[in-house]
Amino acid sequence: MSSASNNSFILDVRGLTKVFGGLTAVNDVTLQIPRQGIVSVIGPNGAGKTTFFNMITGIYEPTTGFIELDGVNLVGLRPDQVTSAGIARTFQNIRLFASMDCQENVMVGRHSRLKAGYIDSLFRTKRFYESEQEARDVANMMLDFVGLGQFRYEMATNLPYGDQRKLEIARALATSPKLVLLDEPAAGMNPRETEELKSLIRRIRDELGVTVCLIEHDMRLVMTLSEYITVLNYGSKLAEGLPHEIRNNPQVMEAYLGRGAVAGEYGKEAVAGMQEGV
């Protein structure tokens, strides 16, 4: 397998397909994410976006296709190995560790980067203290970065919804990723929180140098934030391009609007968002 020839792409996904039983959830999707970019994957509900993420992060194994991160093959790796390789993620339905405070939650994210092992922990070696210090420092730094510094010792589940999402982002960032995948980060947020999120995502890229890829339904956010957009529909790639190209793509409009009465409101809202978010 050749490594991605063009070094300007950090993630190189080719021909990714996932079949569940008889259902093809993701069909031959090819996607390149530019280094230090902010890209979005959008599409109506059930378009296969989350399945796509789950394949990249090793939760599902692709039926066919290949995934390379900076020239390193990811197919067949376990999720924790993918994380070590440099991809971190957040979840659509927030998955924080309920009995831990915020700092501990983020410290778990540092797990794969710490050097202290079992024996170090048992005998409290120098390396253990260094590792713990590192974990704590990184956790505090990331909490500060997402603006949760003052809730360090708060139970994660006691945070407001929007802050829980930020905490998940902090936890993902603590893994020192090259690429972070955000699964609907703005879901359930009010407009003010969404604005904060937008600047947070920009800072992730600008200040930390981490590439960001997000799945999002909030088209205002997607259109203003993304540098490049991929649209999935029924598991296949429908379109890709710059935000204004997507906005003016009739097929995309069709996909969002032409879905009958039930999806109608949602589709109209999405399309309106696309047009508005300039």
């Binding site: 999720p79 924790d80 560790f97 778990v108 797990h111 794969s112 713990e132 974990a135 407001p160």
Partner: protein, 545 residues
């Protein structure tokens, strides 16, 4: 859930109980000594002496005395007073009473053994959230490790190989062949493990064959060693030199940990109750194997007598303190158990507050998220399993030495559930909690409940409601009541406490910091928290993904 409890800040509201602690310590100690020390008892009026020697009264006073340790640990008091009561009780009063009544030593050692088991299981169940119902198997592995070598059983095994293993020279061939296979298997395995990504069918088969070769190789080399050693059977008739005990303490640790890994490898992929029933089954498998493989374990007849090491300086101390020679062994084991418990607690605390401990809790809370954060599931679970098992293995050795006799009867299924009840009763994930749970259950089972029957033996009660026969009923009732009224356990861990009482009225120990935080997170009260909800979803899906 209006307020947040501080994680580890001590409540400031509790009154200082230094003097209470001292007074209670003195009173309970003197009461205990009054019941045990013959000269003191002789000085009492007959009626009172009679009363104090009633089995139930004696057992209750002993329990009261032991609760001193709890008070010293829990009450807010000056450090010197805590240390005085704690170490005074443990190192002076208890051995003193034990000298007069070895039942107290026996109980204390048994509490220690179960506390270690509960601490081990606590890592598996309490921290890593893996429900293990066959935990007693690891205890059995430890007990048999020393039981076989610390008795004539090993000579019997060698004798068997002398008769059935062929010529001694064949042993060398077995050994060399076995080693070759082992090395070959290991090399192949290490080569295959270097392969990144998904293995193809050929690689899988190669790996499988390599594992089989490794196992077969180890078995062959062991067989070879046994055949080679078979002429030595005569010299080992009463077991290996008792001083090898220390070596076997370590060997049992590794043996139990290895069995933990071997059992864990195929089953740790499973979740929740699937894991529970499979561990229950594998625990039974170990017991039934011990019962059936008579060549090695002497089957249902059990192994006896098992020796203990003699430590001259401990014996000298015991002798100087007026212990009789037949009590030396208990004296030694008592202090050994205390030392081992101390080490185990230390290990437990250190692992809990480390990267590994965080990973365990993360897995318990949400496997998917933990793995996505870079925690390798199998490896972390296996470490939990092996660590828990190793504690049980060490204590198995002590158990074998204390009992001088082991048989599969001691490792039945109900022992596993009993240890689990200690962990839950004390407080999942809480180190002081599970020790307290172990103490409560052990005291109930071998001191308080039996004494209830012993004390009422003279009463003319109808056979069917004789308390001597109602141990299960009483124990069951206590279990149910404790769970209903204190589901988080006697001394819940800070984590568990916070989770279980989020909606309690916090007024009883609110600190100034609390009210500060209070206002900061007020909106949380209204917000549906998907973080916790997803965990419940998670738990409901019984099977592995």
């Amino acid at each position: 859930m209006t307020a947040i409890r501080p994680g580890s800040q001590p409540p400031t509201a509790a009154p200082d109980r230094t003097w209470w602690l001292i007074i209670v310590g003195i009173i309970t100690s003197s009461l205990l000594m009054l019941t045990q020390e013959p000269t003191w008892r002789a000085a009492l009026p007959g009626g009172i002496a009679k009363f104090l020697t009633n089995p139930l009264v004696g057992s209750l006073l002993l329990t009261l005395f032991l609760s001193n340790l709890l008070f010293a640990f829990r009450w807010k008091a000056a450090a010197w007073a805590k240390a005085l009561v704690f170490f005074g009780s443990l190192f002076i009063i208890l051995p003193w009473a034990g000298r007069d009544n070895t039942a107290i030593f026996d109980l204390a050692i048994q509490i220690g053994i179960f506390a270690a088991l509960a601490l081990g299981l606590n890592i598996v169940v309490g921290l890593a959230g893996l429900l293990d119902l066959g935990y007693i198997a690891f205890f059995a592995v430890g007990a048999y490790t020393w039981g076989i070598f610390g008795s004539g059983q090993f000579a019997k095994i060698l004798g068997y190989f002398a008769d059935n293993g062929g010529p001694v020279g064949g042993g060398l061939r077995y050994l060399l062949g076995g080693l070759l296979l082992t090395i070959l298997g290991a090399v192949v395995m290490s080569i295959i493990s270097k392969v990144k990504g998904k293995w193809n069918t050929g690689q899988r088969w190669a790996n499988f064959l390599a594992i089989m070769g490794l196992v077969a190789g180890i078995i062959m080399s062991l067989r070879g060693v046994l055949i080679l050693m078979s002429p030595q059977a005569q010299s080992l008739m009463s077991g290996v030199n008792p001083n090898f005990f220390w070596l076997f303490l370590v060997l049992a640790l590794f043996a139990a940990a290895s069995v933990g890994v071997i059992i864990g490898l195929p089953v740790l992929k499973l979740k929740g109750d699937y894991l529970a029933i499979i561990t229950l089954g594998l625990g039974e498998v170990i017991r039934v194997l011990a019962n059936n493989l008579s060549t090695y374990s002497n089957g249902s007849q059990g192994i006896t007598p098992i020796v203990s090491p003699t430590v001259p300086f401990m014996n000298a101390i015991a002798g100087a303190l007026g212990f009789s020679p037949d009590q030396y062994n208990l004296f030694f084991l008592y202090f050994l158990v205390i030392a081992i418990i101390a080490v185990i607690i230390l290990a437990n605390v250190r692992l809990d507050r480390s990267r590994i401990g965080r990973a365990w809790v993360a897995i318990r809370e949400d496997e998917v998220a933990a793995q996505a954060m870079g925690v390798p599931l199998m490896q972390t679970k296996l470490i939990a399993f092996a660590t828990g098992a190793s504690f049980a293995g060490i204590m198995g050795v002590i158990f074998a030495a204390k009992q001088t006799f082991i048989s599969p009867e001691s490792f039945i299924l109900t022992q596993s559930t009993s240890i689990l009840s200690m962990v839950v009763l004390g407080g999942l994930g809480s180190i002081p909690g599970v020790i307290l749970g172990a103490a409560i259950v052990t005291i109930l089972n071998i001191s308080l409940l039996p004494s209830l029957g012993e004390a009422t033996a003279a009463l003319k009660l109808p056979q069917q409601i004789n308390p001597a026969q109602l141990q299960r009923l009483v124990f069951g009732t206590i279990l149910v009541m404790m769970m209903l009224f204190r589901p988080e356990g006697m001394l819940p861990s800070a984590r568990q406490q916070r989770l279980m009482h989020e909606d309690d009225d916090p007024s009883d120990n609110e600190t100034p910091q609390d009210s500060l935080k209070h206002s900061a997170v007020e909106p949380a009260a209204e917000v549906y928290s998907p973080g916790t909800a997803s965990i419940k979803d998670d738990q409901r899906t019984g099977g592995a993904r």
